[in-house]
Symmetry: C2
Subunit: 458 residues, 2 copies
């Protein structure tokens, strides 16, 4: 191979620094998931195709990565589709497996498959990569991690209250203050559709309403009319154009607006329960806000909907989202399993922490001291000390070769290693070590216990 | 979907207990890799096919999972191969990507691709899944994790000494005492081949010699002759049939036996360096042993070869292996990069720890206390306490629904949660909590600080 090797578009190599930062975020998410009683599961990277296909719509089916059958796959290929060169139809006869597209469908499959071993309500979390054949662009990759926490088997709204707490706890632990947890409810959206008398126009309506800040009330109304929403309907939901105030005030407005809709009224009650109890418990650093334009995954969710926006100083889309779904496992034949869950967007959280310089320095702390190599006898003396230092939890390395001093010190410098340990003839004779601070140049001669103490403190 | 869903053969779902145990092993491996100065990298799950194909031999090429191109893949399919229904030849025109087969080739690709950003010698570790279309059987899966540590850019034998230390350190930390780190050297095998005058018979020779314990000296010799190794050759290496004693004694025997081979003599010197320095440093719980029949990956390694056997009480194959390779990155155009590395076999280590009951109980520790749900007012009181307990790092849960007491307690029992916290009208009135030990049935009434203290201690 003559040309320099590369990786597929939309995928990434992660350097040591990047891995350390990503693990830092995952570890905080993981430990807080567990504090809230979520238990980890892991599912295979690929599923049987019929587990995934048809679960994400036509677009999703197209974006699922299919794995070619092993061996003589053409022997079982559908002859007619092969003849017609019909790629789409041929696929199912030459590919039986596919890479998972999200963690939700595999979770539903897991719950149904293992229903007899699971104690419900089942609180699970899952932190694993997913793959999508999307067109790669800034912040969108073909391989990326999802971090999901879901509860199935209980309709209790206390779960929603806890999930708001969980968002607040994780982002507080990450030092990311001032995120906004936006909340809405699918039933409120249904109520609005009912009131405007146009269920099929609901998405057009929320998309237009969402532009209020940008194009003003007149602009929004103009767009709504262009989309076929009547003047009369717009008049009925006029309060949504001045939808300000505290959450309580907003809920009050909605309550009046949706009084004629049973579904809408139910949504208001759910929202009130979640918001009132969240207020009583309090949030550390996050802000809870009601956003009636929030409409993610309309077909999927049936109750509360969540989305998390980063602090306003950062120009970035949502860094988390989720909601309540009444029938997740129904697709695999297990009915009446209400569930609710949230997800953390690892890649975007990474970018936000990077932009705001919120990664603690210790996260990328590498080897603490490099032992300089003066030859085999000295290296053995160094290794004996290193063995004990490592037992004390200290990260140390020996420069592997007896290279020129300048080269060895340069290596420590380029690696960002803070200390060099010099143990040559003189030091060995006195059972000591010269410890050099590579930032200041200061050098002290110490015995082993002192060496250990200094490295433990730094 | 009517039938119960399933997963592809050779893949696995991991339950919460299994995930916890696997993470425990990985965490110990990871933290010790870092103590030894290895830095983590991660590479994409799939690589361009030409990065992987042809690197693992014909058998390997067959076992690599290929990903079908997205969209109208048949439009670019090779017409002749399609016409002839030649599955093998057609593959490259309908599949450009493939799942990684191991971590070594992607690592070599990473080093070459990022050579200008890397400071050499480069000590990297990588813990990620790999995929092989192997026939699944006990202990062999189509998706499994590899845990690799390698150093590239230095020929120093101190690396080999450190890798022996690393094996000892990790297995000691896992509580797995008495593993045998078997060592050999590719140059010694070359020397033996030279001495017996039959390089092409080397594998037959080592395979036969390895059966010494089972079929005895006569049996081994009979097999060697059947394989076409001459009486004369067998006579020349007669000492290998009584190859016992300490490592030093074995090295002495080899030194004499291979005196006529430059390559063999070099191998003996390398082996002596590694073994003597390992002896001077000492091993905590592992045993280092020289095994001249050890011949893993003959074509791949060029110096030391390692393999780790579990304690003799466990019937299980090797739980780790590795060695020195002089030209890993040459396949991607970067010459003269000597490397050496070892791998830990996660799945087998898991089975060994399970069999010997070496997983600490705390590994699978789940939620510490379940708060019983007596209704919304009581739940809010519980949640307020839980919020503070979680801030103190304690894992607690609220039973989500106001279900019958028996059902709630049964849930705690089935989940293995050790405590229930009862906070009903009486407790709320006195700002207290009844804490029930579910194993003993003992119940005490305490204030919040005491509740926290007890849970922190348990």
């Amino acid at each position: 191979m003559a040309s320099k090797p590369s990786i597929p578009k939309g995928t990434r190599d992660f350097s040591p620094t990047e891995v350390a930062k990503r693990h830092y975020i995952m570890q905080i998410i993981r430990s807080n998931f567990e504090k809230f009683g979520f238990q980890p599961i892991e599912t295979p990277s690929f599923e049987n195709s019929d587990t995934l296909m048809g679960k994400y719509g036509e677009e999703g089916d197209r974006l699922i990565f299919k794995i070619l059958n092993s061996g003589d796959y053409l022997a079982k290929a559908n002859a007619a589709h092969l003849e017609n060169k019909d790629s789409i139809k041929l696929t199912s006869s030459i590919s039986e497996k596919a890479l998972r597209y999200d963690l939700t469908v595999p979770f539903a499959r897991y719950v149904v498959q293992h229903q007899n071993e699971i104690e419900f309500p089942f609180k699970r979390y899952q932190i694993q990569p997913v793959w999508r054949a999307d067109r790669p662009q800034k912040g969108r990759f073909r391989e990326f991690f999802q971090c999901d926490a879901d509860v199935v088997g209980s309709a209790s709204l206390w779960q929603e209250v806890e999930l708001v707490q969980l968002y607040d706890t994780v982002f507080t632990a990450l030092g990311l203050k001032g995120v906004t947890v936006k909340i809405n409810n699918r039933k409120i959206l249904s109520g609005i559709a009912e009131v405007i008398g146009a269920s099929d126009k609901l998405i057009d309506f929320t998309v237009a309403l969402d532009k209020l800040d940008k194009i003003g009330e007149d602009g929004v109304k103009k767009e709504m009319i262009e989309k076929g929403i009547s003047q009369d309907a717009i008049q009925k939901v006029q309060p949504l154009f001045h939808f300000t105030g505290t959450i309580s005030e907003k809920i009050e407005k909605l309550s009046q607006l949706l009084a004629s809709s049973d579904e809408g009224t139910k949504g208001v009650a759910e929202l009130r329960f979640i918001c009132e109890n969240s207020a009583k418990l309090g949030l550390s650093t996050a802000i809870l806000d009601l956003d009636v334009t929030l409409a993610r995954g309309l077909n999927y969710y049936t109750g509360a909907i969540f989305e998390v926006a980063p602090p306003q100083s950062v120009a970035m889309g949502s860094i988390g989202g989720g909601g309540r779904y009444d029938d997740l496992t129904g697709i695999f034949g297990l009915k009446n399993m209400s569930g609710v869950g949230i997800s953390f967007g690892l890649d975007r959280i990474y970018l936000v922490l990077e932009e705001l310089q919120l990664f603690p320095e210790t996260v990328t702390a590498t080897t603490q001291a490099l032992f300089i190599n003066y030859g085999d006898a000295e290296a053995l003396y160094a290794m004996q000390a290193m063995q004990l230092l490592r037992q004390a939890g200290i990260k140390v390395e020996l420069y592997p070769d007896n290279a020129k001093m300048a080269k060895q010190f340069q290596h420590a410098d380029r690696r960002g290693i803070p200390y060099a340990v010099i143990a040559a003839e003189t030091e060995i004779a006195t059972k000591s070590f010269a410890l050099k601070n590579l930032a200041t140049g200061a050098q002290i001669v110490v015995d082993f216990e002192c060496l250990k103490a200094v490295l433990l403190q730094n």
